[in-house]
Amino acid sequence: MNGLQFSTSTSSTLGQMYPQTERSHTSPQWSGVVLLKDLSRWQIEAVRKLFQLLALPRDWDSYGSPPPSEVAITAGVRLILGIDLDNFVSPRVVPVSGGGVQLEWSLGSREVEIEIDDEGSVEYLKSVGAKPVEEGPLSLADLPRIRSLLTWLIA
């Protein structure tokens, strides 16, 4: 052997999180995986919930809806991987009729919902005590905006 590298992390030292795409530009791999290195436990849970939605059958809502689209799930994963908050709470991840997906965080009376439609368009809603206080479109590339939405929950 002429090269060796080990790396580990323990539950008491959550690693710094880096955005990771499902397929590295340096890898010819085709099979889709999300590498867990440097991800926080809440992110791992969220990614797992998102992938589980791909197995939903058509008509899961009894209104003829398809399961969340690959595009929506991929966008959801990118959003989760882009959030550099350790020790955060994992969102509720729910399918949306028409092939979308919604991520929901709530802390106390504050709630943030991020909805991704089947084509990957994203909208958010902030509410306090179930009353909407702000909503609008969101770009997945705007990581500072996404971060501020989530830190509002704990502000």
Binding site: S7, T8, S11, S12, H25, P28, G32, V33, I44
Partner: protein, 273 residues
């Protein structure tokens, strides 16, 4: 039934879920965007679906000082935006990846019942497609590719619960990992990544082994992804020399995989030879 003439390790239920056989060559200077479409027309019956992907960076295995490296970011006056085209078959199990300096042939497992078709069946598929691509380049009046690297990758997925239930049990899977620490302070690792590399004989290349925890998209399962990649320079660009090199890379991957993993896991995967 295992082949009685086979000397390489063989498993009845290997954890391999993807293989990649391919070549890297000097960038084809005359190859431009229309050529992707012209080539697709040749293979479209078998590979009717396509996707555009960002290009793979060039990788050169070097020896001595400098070791192996990704060739760094370079600025050049490109004729067109660099891209990589994926051409996919209907079953979603076969893929041709093409860019100006790379040609790769992937097989992957899609359904649980899909059986790894074995290297001896995948290699002729690669050879046929590469030969067809070279024929296309001749027909299109383009230059002959000067291959500078061959590469072969095996992607293995080892499920949580298949021989290991936590990273404290990783020694049950990875032969070289004891998991022991010299004191008693650290708890069981939450996660472990392992990366090793080995010289192939006579400067023919390297074997890279990378074990990374991951979640699989298809079924949301937590897995250890164990990738073995052999890369190196073939003797020449002739098909025979490319296949000779791939045989060497394959041998190192199969023997390397067997050395890297434990006998207990070999039993689970049904080692026959």
């Amino acid at each position: 039934m295992p082949d009685p003439n086979r000397t390489l390790p063989e498993y009845s239920q290997p954890p391999v879920i993807e293989t990649v056989l391919g070549v890297q060559f000097s960038p084809l200077t005359s190859f431009s965007i229309p050529h992707f479409g012209l080539y697709w027309a040749k293979i479209r019956e078998m590979f009717p679906n396509y996707e555009i992907q960002p290009p793979l960076g060039p990788i050169i295995e070097e020896f001595g000082e400098g070791q192996w490296k990704h060739v760094g970011v370079s600025i050049e006056l490109a004729q067109f935006p660099e891209l990589r085209c994926w051409f996919k078959d209907v079953s979603g199990t076969k893929l041709i990846q093409l860019q100006r300096d790379r040609f790769l042939f992937n097989w992957r497992k899609v359904k649980d019942e899909d059986v790894y078709p074995r290297y001896d069946n995948i290699k002729p598929n690669f050879a046929e497609k590469w030969d067809e691509f070279c024929g296309f380049l001749v027909e299109a009046g383009l230059e002959k590719p000067e291959v500078n690297h061959c590469e072969i990758t095996y992607v293995n997925h080892i499920h949580l619960g298949q021989g290991w239930k936590s990273y404290g049990e990783l020694k049950n899977v990875i032969a070289g990992w004891s998991g022991e620490i010299s004191g008693n302070f650290l708890p069981e690792p939450e996660s472990v990544n392992i990366g090793t590399r080995y010289f192939l004989p006579n400067g023919k290349g390297r074997l890279h082994v990378l074990m990374q925890p991951a979640i699989r998209r298809t079924d949301a399962k937590e897995i250890l992804q164990l990738n073995l990649t052999a890369r190196g320079k073939p003797e020449s660009s002739t098909l025979q020399h490319l296949l000779d090199w791939l045989d060497l890379g394959h041998e190192w991957i199969v023997r390397g995989f067997s050395d890297f993993t434990t006998k207990e896991m070999h039993d689970l995967w049904g080692r026959q030879v």
